[in-house]
Symmetry: C2
Subunit: 370 residues, 2 copies
């Protein structure tokens, strides 16, 4: 079965949508935040811990799993769900983003992308067809089309050619997609150029995907203003009966701004990456737990947070673990940070239902930027 | 309240004892294995995970906690239990072992030991009185006397002087011990010398501690035969109504041999250290999960193991995590390895109750060394 999105309510004063997403691994409400499980695990955490913080879809990385342990090994395990023992929905990216960022691909042709493995320098060649073939084997619930993700600084001319190629790649991927239990999303690119976003959205929608991603935002050097514009330039042309996924965005304020512009799904490595570096989200802005002022601070990260970490541990203890490089510290912060973003989306859904999203945003930002 | 040990049964054919240990944080059966929580956490694990594998007492390191976050910080937190949110019993060592191994103390006098911090080289001075004072502040259930732990290769003359000094240190520590909720153990030293072990045991028992440790075994260069002899040379002179703790031993066969010689409590960093290096205990010997043969081995570490890891994950998945340096891998192996040793002690208790310990040992070793 493919996923099924149902739009349940549009907020009065914004483009925000409250909806539900039915998958082969459960039904969940949107807007939602999806934690990233790069290598078939959300770093330091178990599936049970993700469920306890009401996590729904998680994201896994096609590029990383292709290299280790390989798509064939995961297929032999019975697919990604069985391999990692996660019975909730899984979304896989196309590998494109990692190829362009991590592996620093230089050789892009119509056929695909030549690059070198970030692990051992081995030459590799990823095509739209191969990306889909790998994702078919991983057997995720939602697969992504293989796209080029140009730098925010790319010229109009380059961006135009890239957008056109990404549409051709999307069609090639869709043509070979062969997994009736897996949905496939198209990706809207076009940088900050309004006409390219429109072109990309309209042409991608013509190919009739199960959902649509907005890509190429939150890139190096892009301003927040450009990012928010790029979202609205894209969502404007997307069908209302399909889910919209803003790729790679996990800053709390960006999530709110994305929801206001009609986004349903978000993912980001930030909550777990920040955690490993000792940072915690709080309603009053992010804190660095390594700061000396927390050494004997026996209060919780957030007194009213309902996560396991805040129910059980003090800042002083978490600081001690982080300062001593004990990985339990990063684990406790990961639980809190992911819960923080998931709680945020729960509150956003309530605000959409009550048509109070703009008030919610103002209140949130006033505290968070204090 | 001090701990209370009750000897429930002696095995017919060996010196093994089945007993119970009442503490301010619950009552538990012996023989028991105690996981090590060096820096106020059993690496990668939460208190709930320790309870799930029937862990009872855990051990924390006085030396490490003295340096970070400091005894005063933990006292301000309300003691070690509150600081780390663990409501089971905690045993603290004296810091002696770390001072002699990790910090490589060179300057031992009657007064105490001068050495340098392994973190920043700062000069430090630890005395029997200070060790007890720190442990009083940590507020563990069981504290250890400060002892010298000479190398197995030490001469008879050196070992004799050291044993005599350790007894004087034990008395000095006991004199300043000031925590009515904390029990204090004396430590028997003497290397592989029968008369020194006897002297050390008898003189330490004269000081009337709440329990007795056998120290200075499992040191570099000591043979298994010498180690087993040192245990029996010590336990022979220890009172039957007090618990006996063999420090730093976690090899499964050594635990069995220790139990046969009358030991009630064991601790070791091995299960978690092996886990971090990708090793797992199994009934058929230890395995290195990084071995290529496990890449597509979709069976459990041990099919009949009742731990969370074996109930949920395959060797192929754990191998993938360990190979990719994902700390969840070490976490899953830690759960299994600790459970393995705790299960071993559960089976040893049954064998003592049934007077079948020697048969159990033979069967275990036949499989394990296969």
């Amino acid at each position: 079965m493919k996923i099924k999105y149902t739009l349940l309510k549009e907020e009065k004063n914004t483009k925000a949508r409250y909806g539900k997403l039915e998958t082969n691994h459960g039904t969940f409400e949107t807007p939602m935040f999806m934690p990233v499980g790069t290598l078939a695990n959300v770093k330091t955490l178990t599936p049970e811990e993700l469920k306890e913080i009401n996590s729904a879809v998680i994201l896994a990385n096609t590029y990383h799993l292709w290299l280790r342990p390989s798509a064939d090994t995961i297929k032999k395990a019975g697919g990604l769900h069985k391999f990692m023992n996660y019975d909730g929905p899984i979304l896989t990216d196309s590998g494109g983003f990692q190829v362009f960022s991590l592996a620093k691909a230089k050789d892009i042709s119509e056929q695909g992308v030549k690059f070198k493995s970030h692990i051992n320098g081995e030459p590799l060649f990823l095509t739209p067809e191969l990306s889909i073939e790998i994702q078919n084997k991983l057997d995720s619930d939602i697969a992504m089309s293989f796209d080029e993700c140009p730098a925010a600084s790319a010229s109009y001319e380059y961006m135009k050619q890239s957008v056109e190629r990404t549409i051709r790649w999307a069609k090639r991927g869709k043509d070979v997609h062969n997994n009736s239990n897996q949905s496939l999303f198209g990706i809207v690119q076009g940088g900050a150029y309004q006409d390219l976003r429109k072109f990309s959205a309209l042409e991608t929608v013509k190919l009739d995907f199960d959902g649509y991603s907005v890509g190429g935002v939150a890139n190096d050097g892009e301003s927040k203003e450009d990012m928010y514009k790029a979202i609205i330039y894209s969502t404007e042309y997307l069908p209302k009966d399909k889910p919209r996924y803003l790729m790679g965005v996990g800053d709390p304020i960006d999530i709110i701004e994305g929801v206001i512009r009609g986004i349903d799904m978000f993912d980001c490595v930030l909550p777990t990456r920040l955690a490993r570096h000792g940072h915690a989200y709080t309603r009053y802005g992010n804190i660095n737990i390594k700061n000396a002022k927390y050494k004997e601070d026996f209060t919780k990260l957030e007194e009213d947070c309902d996560c396991y970490t805040c129910k059980n541990y003090t800042k002083a203890y978490i600081r001690h673990l982080v300062v001593c490089n004990e990985s339990l510290g990063g684990r406790l912060l990961s639980i809190h940070n992911i819960r923080f973003l998931i709680k945020l989306t729960e509150e956003l859904r309530e605000a959409i239902k009550n048509d109070t999203l703009l008030e919610y945003k103002e209140e949130f930002i006033n505290k968070y930027k204090k």
